[in-house]
């Protein structure tokens, strides 16, 4: 009896501790989300108090908006960075998992971008990718490429250039998580395979990769969600330009909402973004049964 009341008290203390956080979530996530869901069906403009319900007009407009389709295209290009950075991180992690000199230092170097401020990183990359005098193009010219790409300054390459920055940013984080997963693998399994005569490539592909699949799954899901929502890097580097060629969905929402004050329309776009993320996540949850091995 006494024990139970202690448990109860324990529960209350726990509740008290999470209460501030719960209030925060309610105030800053749940209520605004409901609010924006309602706004989606109105023509509410931030500064104009006269608004009315317009039903599905915003959604209709959305599917007739060329800018919207363009932003979906750019978002897709942006998402390429997720698998690429994961594969690279896996390779680096494999390398670092062996006995390498200066392991700690190298690990730190790879992790550094992840803990740096996004905007600071953006400015460094702007210097590196500077079309006429930037070190990257200087190098390309030096090895004989006469007209190196304009990177951020070209509508065709800007989105890919941002992919490169994003890959570089996420590499350290993905690598650390993979490294943890690799160290979980029991050496007996690997030794057994080696005694049976399996090559290093075969061991990696047939044993190590499946054994870290839960990690791959986690990184894939969080990576896709984070990349779809990410905003600050692009805003700092190109602000959606040149000529709108880096306006991904999250920037499109920002511009519509806070540039034009079209809150109803912006709510519709952001709920679309939410729906896409939800669908991707559900597909992955369902699909994980096929390739994730616990």
């Amino acid at each position: 009896m006494k024990r139970r009341s202690w448990m109860e008290r324990q529960g209350w203390i726990g509740m008290t501790f999470i209460l501030p956080n719960m209030i925060g979530i309610l105030l800053f996530f749940v209520i605004p989300a409901i609010y924006s869901f309602v706004l989606m069906f109105t023509n509410y403009q931030f500064s104009n108090p006269n608004w009315q319900f317009t039903g599905l007009d915003n959604l209709k407009q959305l599917f007739h908006d060329d800018n919207f389709y363009a932003s979906i295209k750019y978002t897709m290009i942006f998402l390429i960075s997720v698998p690429v950075s994961m594969v690279l991180a896996f390779i680096v992690a494999l390398f670092l998992n062996r006995s390498v000199y200066l392991k700690g230092l190298i690990r730190g170097m790879f992790f550094l971008p992840y803990i740096s401020s996004g905007v600071a990183v953006a400015f460094v990359w702007m210097l590196l990718f500077q079309p006429s005098q930037g070190p990257i193009n200087e190098m390309l010219r030096w090895i004989g490429i006469a007209s190196p790409p304009g990177w951020f300054a070209d509508t065709d390459t800007a989105m890919y250039a941002i992919d490169i920055v994003q890959i570089w940013l996420m590499l350290g984080y993905n690598m650390i998580i993979y490294l943890a997963a690799l160290q979980e693998i029991s050496t007996e399994q690997l030794e057994a395979a080696r005694i049976d005569g399996a090559s290093t490539f075969k061991i990696t592909w047939k044993i190590v990769w499946p054994l870290v699949s839960p990690t791959t799954f986690l990184l894939m899901i969080t990576g896709l969600i984070m990349t779809m929502k990410s905003f600050s890097i692009i805003q700092a580097i190109t602000a959606g330009g040149p000529s709108g060629s880096t306006t991904v969905l999250s920037l499109f929402v920002y511009k519509t909402a806070f540039g034009y004050y079209e809150m109803g329309y912006a709510s519709a776009i952001s709920w679309f973004l939410f729906a896409v993320i939800l669908v991707i996540t559900v597909i992955q949850w369902v699909g994980q049964k096929r390739w994730v091995h616990y």
Partner: protein, 434 residues
């Protein structure tokens, strides 16, 4: 067991102190407001503007606060971009201490009038904005009424490095020069490490806007005028300057390196700079921007000799509005009048010349030139900076301006030829100008 409880007890204690901290500060607040009530006549106003406080506004409010102990004004700076305007609009909508605020373009003022946060000033009988600020002020009327008081002379022009012009044997251009003239000038002035012309971001569209202001946003048949031939000519000249003459930076280059155009002009890396009066802030600051050349001025050129209805950028700006939701509207109005009629003088050294006829322009000019008289060519300064031109305020939706930018960006990045660009500008703006 004992050890386990330690952190919990500690955290509870910590939480308790934090709560105590909150409540004590709460009671302090209560005391503060009680004091405020006892001295009821003391009014506190807040004024929002985009000029950094140290570039004049702080001196302005300090002067006022000294003369008016009962009405204390506090200056809050917002940056005049999307995020900054959002901050101001949020403060206005939610009634958070913005009794007075500056507007820098018509679309934003229009939004604030729609939102009901701009007091109608035409009804005030004790101040005649038209006669004080001149006929240009009328461009800021919305529904034929004033909702804000224009306070300063707006200026945009070409800054010239006179030493470089002299060295190249070029005279200071005539007021009505054209873009072909400018192209020739830029070509002759370009040297290794020195561009002939740089343009500030905001100046890229000045000629387009001045042209549009002359010919009208819409054609006679109601279709958009965003595909007109004069724009085409000007864009082609600029394109040639970038890629053939190489007398101005390529657009992509300027865009991605976020070129600091004012610094580059003051360091002698460009002979001409198209920009506004805000450059005076740095040009007069010889400590941080040392330079020893003389600066002369030219008007932003029109497209060609045949263009007769070109409107030069200018007129009046810095439109000070009183918040219609403010509790101290009368005090705010008193401050607004004082500000316009000379109170704003400390900002003249940064290039903000008061528009009111109650202010002696000579005094403002001498403030602007104080200590740097020898850095400017007086003749062209009087003609251009203090000259009078037919002016305009462009009022088209932001979406149309952005669509136009996307299209000419494609042209400057060589992704689209000029004819497609003109056609797209026309069709895309058509929808938005309805």
């Amino acid at each position: 067991m004992k050890k386990k409880w330690y952190p919990a007890v500690l955290s509870v204690l910590l939480a308790a102190t934090m709560l105590a901290g909150c409540s004590s500060s709460g009671s302090n607040d209560a005391q503060g407001s009680a004091n405020g009530q006892s001295a009821k006549e003391k009014i506190k106003l807040t004024m929002w503007g985009a000029v950094p406080a140290e570039a004049g506004p702080q001196a302005v409010v300090d002067n006022w606060n000294k003369e008016n102990p009962n009405v204390q004004v506090e200056y809050v700076r917002y940056v005049n971009d999307d995020a900054g305007n959002l901050k101001l609009d949020t403060a206005l909508m939610t009634n958070q201490n913005a009794d007075l605020y500056m507007n820098y373009d018509l679309p934003h003022l229009q939004k604030r009038v729609d939102a009901g946060v701009a007091l109608e000033l035409s009804a005030k009988t004790d101040y005649d904005i038209d006669s004080q600020m001149g006929q240009d002020a009328a461009l800021w009327k919305i529904n034929d009424k004033y909702y804000g008081m224009p306070t300063k002379k707006n200026m945009a022009f070409v800054w010239l490095n006179k030493d470089m012009l002299d060295a190249a044997g070029l005279p200071i251009p005539e007021v009505d020069w054209t873009w072909s003239d400018l192209q020739e000038y830029a070509k002759k002035l370009t040297k290794s490490g020195v561009y002939g012309l740089l343009q500030a971001d905001s100046s890229f569209t000045t000629t387009m806007d001045g042209t549009l202001a002359g010919m009208g946003v819409k054609q006679a048949d109601g279709t958009s005028n965003f595909g007109n031939d004069l724009w085409k000519q000007q864009l082609e000249i600029l394109h040639n300057m970038m890629f053939v003459d190489k007398s101005t930076p390529e657009y992509g280059e300027q865009l991605t390196s976020k070129m600091p155009v004012d610094t580059m002009f003051l360091q002698g890396q460009t002979a001409m700079l198209a920009a506004g009066e805000y450059i005076f802030r740095n040009a007069n600051n010889l400590k941080d921007y040392p330079h020893d050349f003389k600066t002369a001025f030219a008007a932003i050129p029109r497209v060609n000799k045949d263009q007769t209805d070109y409107k030069y950028p200018g007129g009046v700006g810095d439109v000070l509005a009183v918040n219609a939701k403010s509790e101290n509207q009368d005090a705010a109005w008193e401050f607004a009048k004082w500000y316009a009629d000379g109170g704003m003088l400390p900002m003249a050294s940064g290039g903000r010349i008061p528009a009111s006829k109650s202010v002696d322009t000579k005094e403002a000019m001498s403030l602007l030139l104080k200590g740097v008289e020898d850095k400017y060519d007086t003749d062209s300064m009087n003609k251009i900076v203090f000259g009078k031109f037919p002016s305009f305020q462009l009022n088209v939706p932001q979406q149309a301006v952005d669509a136009r930018k996307e299209e000419y960006e494609k042209y400057f990045l060589n992704k689209q030829d000029i004819d497609t660009t003109m056609k797209n500008m026309q069709t895309r703006s058509q929808e938005l100008l309805k």
